[in-house]
Symmetry: C2
Subunit: 395 residues, 2 copies
């Protein structure tokens, strides 16, 4: 009865974790510490509440799929502040559009390409992956080719090493910077090279930048894909950038962000939204605009994560990543470590292999643990100390 493509969704990291820990109980007497989910724990800034109250009456309204000029202006201003070299790069009406978080458009833009090009039957996806990339990839093409990213490649895929025959057969490529889950950031050279490879092969490049504003403040801010586009100087053709407020503004529930880039894709995406997608309401667009106009609350968020990463360097001894809010650290066996930490220390973490696909018997996430550093200092310190102790016990 059901679409056979979607059976891939049965393979799901939280489902696998639940199976792994089935029958394994944390020690009684202390509250378990859940470091599995990348959900911000800091409250959203006050402007969220104020702006919602101001525009409360507009909940009655439908909004068009391109949002409002007011919202798109706020995005353009944000891009100009965040990436001064690429100031005002995008056409505000045709190359920027609001999205209800990035999960849905990551999927839907894959769907937009389905059967769109003869001789193209492959989607290229960074591995480890975010499950919405996989959903978009399988919506676009029957075949996914996984682009492994690991320590040797700074946790970024290497499109330059992909066979030219594979590239020619590909219609879409999903990458992220800062990377998920490691938080390493692409250089401008890597971005330029990747854009050029995709353009040469008529591949739509989807760059997930949902962690663009979550970086360690003693490092440089991550380079943006828009800066690479500006440097190349040939417009936004063939590239879509995904940005979200979920992490930037600790507003995962707000389901607001934007995509920017190729205007042909933006136009098709808007039509799909108008026919079968989710538009963002006027109050949400107002709140999202207020958040994109403000950088101070984001600086405070970064400060919050900076403290946690300082703790983590001190307690676990691994160098902090440039971006994101996860630790992704090597262990002897990620499944054994995950069970041990839950059973003996009441700390839940995510085995790296559940976040990646096995590719020719190689899983780039295997024997890594993903640890979310999103809780307050006390919980984080307590959790990290328990992890440190647990990992010592396994040595």
């Amino acid at each position: 009865m059901f679409n056979p493509e979607f059976s891939i969704f049965n393979d799901w990291m939280f489902g696998k974790l639940s199976d792994l820990l089935s029958g394994v109980n944390p020690p009684s007497g202390s509250e378990p510490i859940l470091l599995t989910i990348g959900e911000p724990k800091t409250p959203p800034p006050k402007i969220v509440k104020e702006t919602f109250n101001k525009y409360y009456k507009d909940w009655r309204r439908y909004t068009p799929s391109n949002g409002t000029r007011f919202f798109r202006d706020s995005v353009s201003e944000y891009i100009s502040r965040r990436y001064p070299k690429a100031s005002e790069f995008f056409d505000i009406d045709d190359e920027i559009t609001p999205v209800p978080g990035t999960r849905a458009p990551l999927f839907q833009i894959g769907l937009l390409l389905k059967n769109g090009s003869k001789n193209k039957d492959i989607s290229l996806v960074t591995n480890p992956f975010y499950h919405a990339w996989r959903a978009g990839a399988i919506a676009a093409n029957e075949k996914i080719i996984w682009m492994d990213a690991n320590k040797e490649t700074n946790w970024l895929p290497q499109p330059k090493n992909i066979d030219s025959e594979i590239l020619e057969r590909s219609s879409i490529m999903y990458v992220a910077s800062p990377s998920n889950p490691h938080g390493s950031c692409a250089s401008i050279d890597w971005l330029i090279q990747t854009i050029n490879i995709c353009r040469k092969n008529d591949i739509l490049l989807c760059v997930d930048e949902c962690y663009a504003d979550i970086y360690r403040q003693d490092y440089n801010p991550p380079t943006g894909t828009v800066e690479a586009l500006k440097e190349i100087g040939e417009g936004s053709n063939g590239v879509i950038i995904f940005n979200s407020l979920s992490k930037r503004s600790s507003a995962a529930g707000l389901r607001a962000g934007f995509i920017a880039g190729d205007k042909k894709v933006i136009s098709k995406y808007r039509k799909l939204t108008a026919n079968g997608g989710v538009a963002i309401s006027e109050p949400q667009l107002r709140v999202a605009a207020a958040l994109y106009k403000d950088d101070e609350h984001v600086r405070k968020n970064r400060q919050f994560y900076d403290k946690n990463f300082l703790l983590s360097e001190k307690i676990l001894g691994f160098k902090k990543p440039q971006g994101g809010f996860f630790n992704f650290i090597p262990v002897n066996d990620d499944l054994i470590a995950t069970k041990h930490l839950w059973e003996n220390h009441g700390v839940k973490v995510m085995p790296g292999r559940f976040m990646a696909n096995s590719n020719n018997n190689y899983n780039p996430g295997e024997n890594y643990l993903r640890i979310a550093l999103v809780n307050d200092e006390n919980i984080t310190e307590n959790g990290l100390n328990k992890i440190s102790k647990g990992l010592q016990e396994l040595k």
Copy 2:
């Protein structure tokens, strides 16, 4: 480059209307009256604001694709109040799930069925249609067969008249009660018959009930599909009901509602949402629950529309429909009438033929006008008087 299926979206009623009226200007000197869009003009009730403020901090959170038990409970209670004969019919955890409005799930549930059954290649869609039904239909199957609805059939399609060979080849059927745009309501016999035909032929029946609570208060409330399911007594297998707060609570921007029915479909829908859809935030679920728990604001909304339909009966002389908030009235030529009303009276209405597909050279919406009665009494009265005058001039 793009999915050829979605080229169907280029055929779009508002685009056609814009083309029709291109170069046609309304008279200067008076404000144009737009009666084209079914957007509630009454403000959402106060509980919306209060509830958002109460749960403001939860904007930071992700919510699971099945929402919360609190929300699902409120839906179950609503169904029990609204359809007492079918009280507590659905399993609260497995057969009810939140949706971000009905447009996205109407599309996505079609997508869930794609290539799901050998020998099935047809989607059945009520004509005139809502564009999200068409989007879901084309996502499910390459071929759409239009089920005409017109005055002779009380604006409901007649599945019993469809060839058995067509029914066997169909995997999904879209119907609505109250119907769109006419607002006529299905009887329990029609619903039972339609469910039985779909079950016999292994067709997923999608019933759009987004106008379920918008009816004339001197008529009976529209019968619900859940009442027919209860009467048949074989559970919810093969049926999905779509309900939304957009009209019920004048909260189109809230993007909240529910689907209820076949638990296999609900389960697949949740997986698609988790991988590439839009979950509804905790604050929105709280507001939606508060709205489903309250009937008084809905009664006031109905009163508002009742007054407009009284005016319309008086001014235009057409019998009011049982449900919905549109007038759908016959004219000599809907294109000529639409242009005439805009050019000479500054009133914008929707030609019926733009809402329907031509089926063997017959378009069931042709020579009808859709007039939205969503504005306040003054605007509505003024608009209807102008329409009356304009139509007289064309006689």
